[in-house]
Every structure is written in C-alpha cells, then in structure tokens.
C-alpha cells in the first residue's frame, strides 16, 4: 500500500481510528527502547509479534515489516539489529504522510 516509505494510503473509513493508532505506535517506540535497554527479549518479541499483526491490517505494511524484523532479531539475539529496527520504525513514524482513499 505504500508508494514510498513516507506515504501511506489508508482506507477512508478507518480515518477516525488513525490518530489513536499513531499515538499508540509512538508509545510503542518508547516501550521498545526500554525493553531493549533492559535486554527484555521476550517483551521485544511480543511487541514485534503485535506490530506484525496490526500494522498492515490498518494498511501500514512498513509496521508489519519492522515487526517481523524485530521477531527475527530477537531470535538471533542481535541487539544492534534490533536497535536498527527501532530506529527505522521511529524514522518512519516521524516522516510518514497518510493519504486516505
């Protein structure tokens, strides 16, 4: 659904749900960072799993992709890869533009 990393096309009938959805994602970034700092891989795995499920349901394919990468990163115990994922996620949320169709 994304034309590029910054533009996301979302179904018009979900528009009123999106502001809350985005706020929850921004909180998610903080939770991910806290979990990474604490080395809480189980929480990281659960958050990645949840992101993978909810992201593209709304139309945010990128969020599902990052969620999958997080799950993979946890499996490999690769903190640097996980940190990169979280960074990529935060960058996406900062720069994305939503178009309702």
């Amino acid at each position: 659904m994304t034309k590029n990393i910054h533009t996301v096309i979302i179904a018009k009938d979900l528009a009123d749900l999106i502001p809350v959805f985005i706020r929850n994602r921004q909180k998610e970034i903080e939770t991910l960072r806290t979990a990474l700092a604490a080395g809480d891989f189980e929480q990281l795995r659960q958050l990645g799993h949840r992101m993978r499920g909810v992201g593209n349901s709304y139309g945010f394919a990128m969020i599902s992709e990052v969620g999958k990468q997080l799950e993979d990163g946890v499996k490999g115990g690769d903190k640097a890869a996980i940190a990169a994922c979280i960074g990529e996620y935060a960058d996406f949320l900062d720069k994305m533009q939503i178009v309702y169709e």
């Binding site: 959805f21 929850n24 909180k27 499920g53 599902s64």
Partner: protein, 382 residues
C-alpha cells in the same frame, strides 16, 4: 497504556447477529469492530481471555473472533473451554492470529476452532469468513426451528392419537412427557398392576327393543358421553367400548398411586352423572335403566394387540375378567368390588352402603373370591 483502553464493549448496529471480538491489542479490536459494524453486525469486545469467558457465559454471542497470543488465558485456552462446555460448544470460533506455522493451526484445531484468520487481517477475507459462518448460523437456526415445529407437530399427533383412550388432560401430560418416557402406547406389552372398571347399562335390552335404530344410537351416545366424562374426570384410560359396556383402566399407561380411589370416584361419578339421563329416559320412553359397575384390581397385560391392519391398546388378565363378571352381576346403581380392591377404598365407602356378598364363584372361575356390593345411587363426598 494503550490509547484505546477507554474503548469498552459497545454495540451500535441494529442487528441480531452478535460477534464478540477478543484481542489484547485494542487497536486490533477497534479495527475488527469497525469492519464488522460496517457490515451491519452487532459487535462486543473483550481485552483478555478471562473477560471473554465471562462475557460468553453471561451473554453468548453468535460468533467469536479470538486472538491467540494473549497474556493470562490464551486464545487456545478460551477456545478449549468454550468448546468443552455443552452450552457454548456450538458457538463458532475463528482464531485470529499472526501465527502462521502449521503447528499452531493444529493446536487451534485440537482446541476446537472452527476457522482461522491470519494477521495482518485482510478486510475481504474477514468479511467472507464471517458471512460464511453467519450463513451456517442462519441455517442451523432454521433447522432448529424446523425441528421444534416438528416436535410440536409430533406431540400434537400423539395427543390426538391418545385422546381416543384418555382425557385431554392426560393426553397433554403424555405428549409433554413423550420425550422423557417415550410413547407409552407404542412400547412393548408389559404386565403391570391395574384397577379395571367395567360399567354397563341395566335395561339396555328393553331399550333396543322399544326404540328405532336412530333413537337407540342417540341414547347410547348420550349414555357413553356421560360415562366417558366421568372416566376422564379421574384420568382413567378407556380401553373398550362395546354394546353398552365400557372398560376403564387405572394405573395405566402411567402409574397412579391412588388408582383404587380414582376408580371408586369414577364409579360414583358415573352413577351420579347418569341419574338425570335415566330420569329423562324414564319420562320420555318409560324405561327403567341404571348403570351397573364391576371393579377389580390385580396384575394384567397391557399393550397393543392386533395385526398390522388393526391393533388396539388392550388390557388383558384376571382383574379385567373378574370386573366383567362383577359388572354382569351388579344391579342398577350398584358397584361390585372384589375383596382386595375393597380394602383399598374401604375408608371412602360409607359403612351403611356396603353389603358383603361373601365368597362368590364367578362363571368360568374355579376359585371363589370375596365380593362387596356398594350402593352408589347418590353422589358421595369422596
């Protein structure tokens, strides 16, 4: 804290098909609920497995969309519990999960899930699955309503069939109990304790000699109507109506612990109810008529007897034969009762009305039996 935490269980679509969405991710709950409500469905939500179980128990939905990975009670656990409970086992459950490995699907199937939906959820797929399950739900409801209609029809047929023999009240009871006891008139013949009451009309021969066919039939109808009402009043079962005699059984087809008392009250009722009819016949036709009754208790064979072309619910045995002989001996307004039965109703019979006939050898019988004669001209306070 998730910003959708305030979004509780709501229902805003006027539909009778209710879907319960269970997921600890409230964004996912909001998303699924939106799509379903857009389809005109009524949606309720739960944020964890324990709440879901509580909601299903208090208000069972028509469909459950259930997340698997939830803290506490997992979706597998919820599914297993609901499918293991007879009262909720038929509610379709769709497991909604990002778990895409076959092992998880197998676990879901083992837990009793009816269908699966993968996350991320595709709108078209969700709607298609829900529609399919709703169709199945509607079909099941339709079949259930047809089954109930057939059950009502079957009970009515039983009631009508039984009403040949028994009072409408007893027929209703039998129809209601049909599922519980089976059809008592279709079962195999059995030996059981009964009270048999035979009644016939004293003066019947003169009645037939003096009147034309139409008049005789009308008078017999009047007579049998009175006796039948008396039998039905005390839940007796009519086994036979021939000539001017009527055979009524008690303690069949269902147990009547007070069968002897019922038979006695029926005898009194028959005599009392027939009195005004007899008075009318006396006045119109100059006939002296009355009802003579014989009663006896004992074991008899009960069941359907006959051929494939004709069968009737029949009572056979000593108490029936004895009651028939006693009936033949009874005068108008008299009830002849065999000894053992009399002991069971002695407390109801005014002493001044009883005459001991002594041991009587009945025609066709080798041994004599004690017989009591009771005058039953007036209605008793029994």
């Amino acid at each position: 804290m998730n910003d959708r935490a305030a979004a509780g269980s709501t229902a805003d679509a006027p539909a009778d098909y209710r879907v319960l969405v269970v997921d600890d991710d409230l964004d996912m709950v909001a998303f699924l609920a939106r799509l379903l409500r857009d389809e005109g469905l009524k949606v309720e939500t739960a944020g964890d497995g324990a709440s879901a179980l509580m909601q299903v128990m208090t208000s069972p939905p028509d469909l459950i969309l259930l997340d698997v990975m939830m803290p506490g009670v997992s979706g597998f656990d919820v599914c297993r519990q609901l499918k293991g409970d007879e009262s909720t086992a038929l509610i379709p459950i769709v497991l909604v999960t990002a778990l895409d490995d076959s092992e998880s699907r197998v676990r879901g199937i083992e837990a009793g899930a009816d269908d699966f939906l993968s996350k991320p959820v595709k709108r078209e797929e969700l709607i298609a699955r829900v529609k399919t399950l709703r169709r199945l739900h509607d079909t099941r409801k339709e079949l259930e309503s047809r089954r109930l209609a057939a059950e009502v029809q079957r009970k009515e047929a039983i009631r009508q069939a039984f009403s040949r023999y028994i009072s409408p009240r007893l027929a209703d009871r039998i129809a209601e109990a049909a599922g519980e006891y089976g059809d008592p008139f279709q079962g195999r013949a059995q030996r059981t304790s009964v009270v048999a009451l035979f009644a016939d009309l004293r003066g019947f021969t003169r009645l037939t000699e003096r009147n034309d066919v139409g008049t005789v039939v009308a008078m017999l109808n009047e007579y049998f109507a009175v006796l039948t009402e008396a039998a039905y009043q005390h839940d007796g079962t009519i086994f036979n109506m021939a000539g001017d005699s009527l055979l009524v059984g008690f303690n069949v087809p269902f147990p009547q612990p007070d069968a002897a008392e019922r038979a006695w009250r029926t005898a009194l009722e028959m005599v009392a109810r027939f009195e005004p009819v007899a008075a009318s016949w006396r006045e119109r036709h100059g006939l002296e008529v009355g009802v003579g009754i014989g009663m006896c208790a004992g074991d008899a064979i009960i069941g359907n007897v006959g051929s494939t072309h004709y069968a009737s619910y029949t009572i056979i045995g000593n108490p029936v034969n004895t009651a028939a002989r006693l009936m033949q001996m009874a005068a108008a307004g008299e009830v002849l009762v065999c000894g053992p039965l009399f002991e069971r109703i002695r407390h109801l019979v005014p002493a001044g009305r009883v005459a001991i006939r002594g041991d009587v050898t009945l025609r066709g019988k080798s041994e004599s039996i004690p017989v009591f004669a009771v005058r039953a001209e007036a209605r008793e306070n029994a």
